[in-house]
Amino acid sequence: MNPPGALGVLEEKEEEHLSTPILGPSIHSDNPQERIQARRLRIAARLEARRREALGEYLDGKKESEEDQSKSYKQKEESRLKLAKLLLCGTELVTNIQVATDIREIHRRVEEQEIKRQRLEKLENEVKTSQDKFDEITAKWEECKQKRIPQDLWDMLNTQQMHCAGLIEDKNKLISELQQELKIKDDQYVKDLKKQSDDICLLLERMEEQVKHVMKTFRQELNYIEKAFEVERRELLTSNKKKWEQALQAHNAKELEYLMNRIKKVEDYEKQLNRQRIWDWEEYNMIKIKLEQDVQVLEQQLQQMKATYQLNQEKLEYNFQVLKKRDEESTVIKSQQKRKINRLHDTLNNLRSKYAKQIKQFQEENQSLTSDYKRLVTQFKELQKSMRHFALIDDKQFREIWLMNEEEAKDLISRAFDVDRIIHTHHLGLPWTAPDFWFLRNVGPISQQPQKSATQILEEVLMQAEEEETEEAASEAESYLDLPKQISPKTTRKILMLLCDESGFLIENKLLSLLLPLEKNECYLLRLDAIFSALGIESEDDLYKLVNFFLKYRVYHSPSSQEQTSLLSVLEPGKQPDLEGQKEESLVEGEPEEKEAPPSSRLIHPNDVLKILEAFVMGLKKPSLILTQRAKLLIENNSLEQQNTELQMLLQKYLDSKINSELQVPPTRVFRAPTK
C-alpha cells in the first residue's frame, strides 16, 4: 500500500490525455500577470476556504480564468482533477484499513504493555509474598529442630505442611491464572486471525471496488473528453469553414481585380502588337523585294551553269560512246585472238600426241630391229662356228686325203725311184743317186697360206676398224679366238696403232716418205708390216705371242715398274714423253708399257746395240714429227670448226626462216626431240 506510487501511476495514465501544457492561472505560467492572478486567486482561496466550500470556489475561480480556454481543455482539466480526487480518495479508503489496523495495533500494544506491567507486578508481589512465606517456613524448620516434644513437633510439622500446601496452592493458582490468560490469548489469536482475514477481505473488496470504480470513471471521463473534443472539432470546423468562406470571398474579389487589370493590360499589349505587326510587315516587304531580286540574279546564273553543264555532258557522252566502240572492237579482237590461241593449242596438242605416237612407234621399231639384229648376230656367230668347224673338219679330211694321196704318191715315187735305180744300176750302170726333192720329205698338204701372216691379220683388223665398231668388235672376237677374251678388238687395234706409231724407228726413212701420200689405214698397215718384218713377226702366232706378252707384261710390270724405268730411260729415252702421254689416256690397261717390254726382255742383247742406237736417233727425231702432225691436225680442226659454225649458221637461218612458223611441226622441235 503505497499511495504515492499508485497515484503516480494513475496520474501518468491520466496525463497521457494531455498534450498541451496548462495555460491556466498557474504560478508557473510564463505570463507574469497570469501568475499574479493565480497567486491572488490562491491567496483568496486560502483565506476564504476556511469558511466556505472551497472546492466549488476553487474550481469556479479556475473556470473563470479558463474562459478563454477551449472546451476540450476544460473538460480535460475537469476530468483530470476529478480523477485525481477519485484516486486519492480511493487510495485513502483502501489505506484506511491499514491505518486502522495500525492504530489498533498501537492500542493493543499499549494495552498489552499495561497488562504485561500489571502481570509482572502481580508476579513480583506474588514472588515477594511467597518468598516471605517460604522464609517463614524455613524459619519454622529451625524452630522444629528445637522442639523436643513429639506432640509439638507433630503439630509444628502439620502446620508446616499446611503452610507448604498453601504455598503450592498459591503457586498453582497463579499458574492456572496464567494458563487462563494464555487461553484467553489463544482465543484472541483466533479472533485476531478472523479479524485479519476479515480485514484482508475488506481490503480486497475495496480494492476491487476501487478498481472497478476507477475504470468506470476513467471510461466515463474518456467519453466526456472525447465528446468535448468532438464538439470542439465541430466548432473548429464551422469556424474554419467560415474563415475559409471569407477568405474565398476575398480571394474572389481579388481575382476580379486581377482580371480587370489583366484585361487592361491585354488591350495595351494588343495595341502594341498591332503596331509592331505593321512595322514588321513593311520591313518584311522590303526584305522580300530585295531577296526576290537576288533570286532572279541567282536563277540566271543557274541557267548559265545549266547550259555549261549540258555541254559538258554531251561532250562526255560522245567520249563515252567512242570509248565504248573501242572497247567493243578490242573485245572482238580479243575473242578472235582467243579463238586463235585455242585453235593453235588444239593443233599443238594434236602434234604432240602424234609426236608421242611416232616416238613410241620408232622405239618399238628400234626394239624389234635390235632384237632382229641380235638374233642375226647369234645366227651369224653360230654360222661362223659351224663354218669353222666345217673348215677344220674339211681341213682334216683334206689332210687325211692328202696324206693318203701323198703316201700313194710316195709309194709310187719310191717305186719309180726303185725302178729308176734299177735302171740306173742295172741298166745303165750308173750310180744312182737318189734325187732330193723337197716334196719327198713333205708330210701333209702343202699350204699356200699355211698361216695367216701377221700383215694379213693386221690388214683385217684395220679394215674392220674402218667398218662399224660394234660389228668389228664381234668379228674381232671371232677372228681372235685364241686371244684372251678380255682383250677387245678395239684395244688390239689401238695397241697396234700405238705400236706402229711408236716403233717408227724400225721403219726405214725411205719407206716413211713413200708412205706419206697414202691413206691412213694403208699407211698404218705398211708401217706395221715393216715393223713386224723388222721385229721378225711373221705368222699369226707371233702376233698372238706379242699380244700375250703385252698382257703378261702388264701383270709383271706393275710390281717391277721401278726397275723398268731406269732401263727404259736407258733404252728409249725418246719414248719417255709418249709414255707419259699414254698414261694420261683413259685406257689404263698399260699397253704402252707392255710395248716397251719386248725390247727389255728380248731385245737386249749385244747384237742389237746398233739397232738401239739407231732407234735412239729415230726417237730424237720423233717429237718434230709429232709436232708437225699436231700442227696439221690443228689446222684440220680449225677448218672443221669453221665448217661447223657455218653449218650452224645455216641451220639457224633455216630454223629462223618464216616458213617454219607456218609449218605445223616446226623443225626446231624436230631437232630438239631426237637430241633429247
Binding site: P4, E15, P21, V99, A100, D102
Partner: protein, 501 residues
Amino acid sequence: MQETLATSTLSAPRRSSISTQEMFSTADQTSSTGPQPSRPSNIPPPGKSKGWNSGTKLRRMRRIIAEDPEWSLATVPLLTELCIQHIIKNFQNNPILKQLLPEHQQKVLSHLSPELPLAVTANLIDDENYWRRCCMHRWPVCHVARHGGSWKRLFFERHLENLIKHFIPSTTDPAVLLDLLPLCRSYVRRLRVDQLLPPVQLPGPPRSGELSDSGSEGETEEPATDHYQLRDLVAGLSHLEELDLVYGVKDCGMNFEGNLFLFTYRDCHSLAATIKACHTLKIFRLTRSKVDDDKARILIRSLLNHPALEELDLSHNLIGDRGARAAAKLLSHSHLRVLNLANNQVRAPGAQSLAHALAHNTNLISLNLRLNCIEDEGGQALAHALQTNKCLTTLHLGGNELSEPTATLLSQVLSVNTTLTSINLSCNHIGLDGGKQLLEGMSDNKTLLELDLRLSDVAQESEYLIGQVLCANREAARQRTLNPGHLMSPVIAKGPEKPAR
C-alpha cells in the same frame, strides 16, 4: 506396416498408380498377417506356399489399385511435419533445436510439452512462449512484470522459490536444490521466499504434512531448529539481486507454535556470511523472522561496505535500539537508498542514532519507521536531521507516539526542506495545534506531495487545507514533469527536486 504404407503413399503421389512388384513384395514381407489395403479378392493370403506366391507375384505385378476419390495430397503429412513430430516426441532423449530452421524451431517449441525435464530445456530453449506455457501450466496466476518481463526468469525464480519453500532441512535432499543450480544460475535474479520450514520434530506443519514424522523425535532441540542454509545456493546464483526471506511458516493458522518461527543464531551467522559473499545483491529483505538486536547487528555487520546493496528491509522484527544503532552505522557505511525498519521496537535512542546518521547522509531516499515507538525525542531528532539532509524523499513515521513538539519541528523542516515528497504521520497524537503548525509549514512548502495525517487527532479543517496545498504541489510537480524546459534543472517525478524560484 504403417510405415511402409506411409512411404508407399508418399512415394506414389496418386494411389491409382500401378504399384510395382517391389512394393507388393515388401508389403508381403512386412505384413504377412496384417490386412492389406484394397487387396483383390482372388489373391490368396500370402501365408500359403512359396511356390504359389512366386506365381502370383507375376499376376499381382499388373494389378491396379482402384482410385480413391477422397484422397488428396492435403491428407498426407509432409515429411518435415513428420520429422518435427518425431523430434517433439523424442525431445527428452534427443533434443534437436538449434540445428532447425527458425520456422521449424517455432513449430517444435509450440508443441513441446511443458513437463519436459529442466535439465533438457533450461539452457537450450530461450523462447519466451515456451516458458510462458510452462508457467501457465504450473501456476494459474503469473505476474511477469515483477520478473523483468521474462517468462523464463519467472519460471526459474518461482520454481526455485517453491523448492526452497518446501525444503525441510535434514529430510529433503539438498542435492535437489544444488542440481538445479547450474540450470537456473543465469536466469534467477530474485528470490522471494516467504517461508522457510524448520526441521520436522513434532507432527509437522500442515504444509509438510505429507512428510514422514519419524526419526526426529530423539534429537536435541538446538541444532534441529536450524533452517536451510542458503550459502551454497546463493553463491551459485551469479545474477542474484534481490533476496527476500522469511524465517517462518506461512499460513500456519491454528497450528501455530512458537518454535515454527525460530531464527537461530546459526541461521543468522550463515545468512550473514551468505549475503556478505553475494556481491550482486541489491535488495535484502528479512521480515517476520524474529530478528532481535543481536541478530540484526550480526547481519548488519556483514553488510557494512557492501558494494551493491541499495535496499534493506528488516520490518516486522524485534529490533530495538541497538539494532537501530547498527542500521545507523550501516547508513554511513554503504550506499543504502531504502531502509525499512517498520514494526520493530525502535525507541527514542535508536531513532536519535538514526537521525544522527541521516543528518549528513546523501544516499538514503526512503526511511520507514512505522509502528515503532520513537516518541517525541526520536521524532525531534529526526526533524533536526532533516533540516540538513538533502536527499531523503520519503519518511514514514506512522504509529510512533509522536505529538505536538515533533509536529512543530517538522513544520519548520517543511518550510526549509525541498527534497521531501512524502511524509506519513498517521496514527500519532499530533493534536490540533500540531496540525495547525504543520499547515503553516506546508504553506511555504512547494515540494511535498503527500502528508498523511489520518488518525492523528488533527483538526479536519487543517487537514483539508493541507490537502489543498498538497494538491497545488502535485499540480506544480506535474507541470514540472510536463515541461521541464521551464526549469533550471530536470525534475524526476518522485526524485529530489530543486526549487526553481
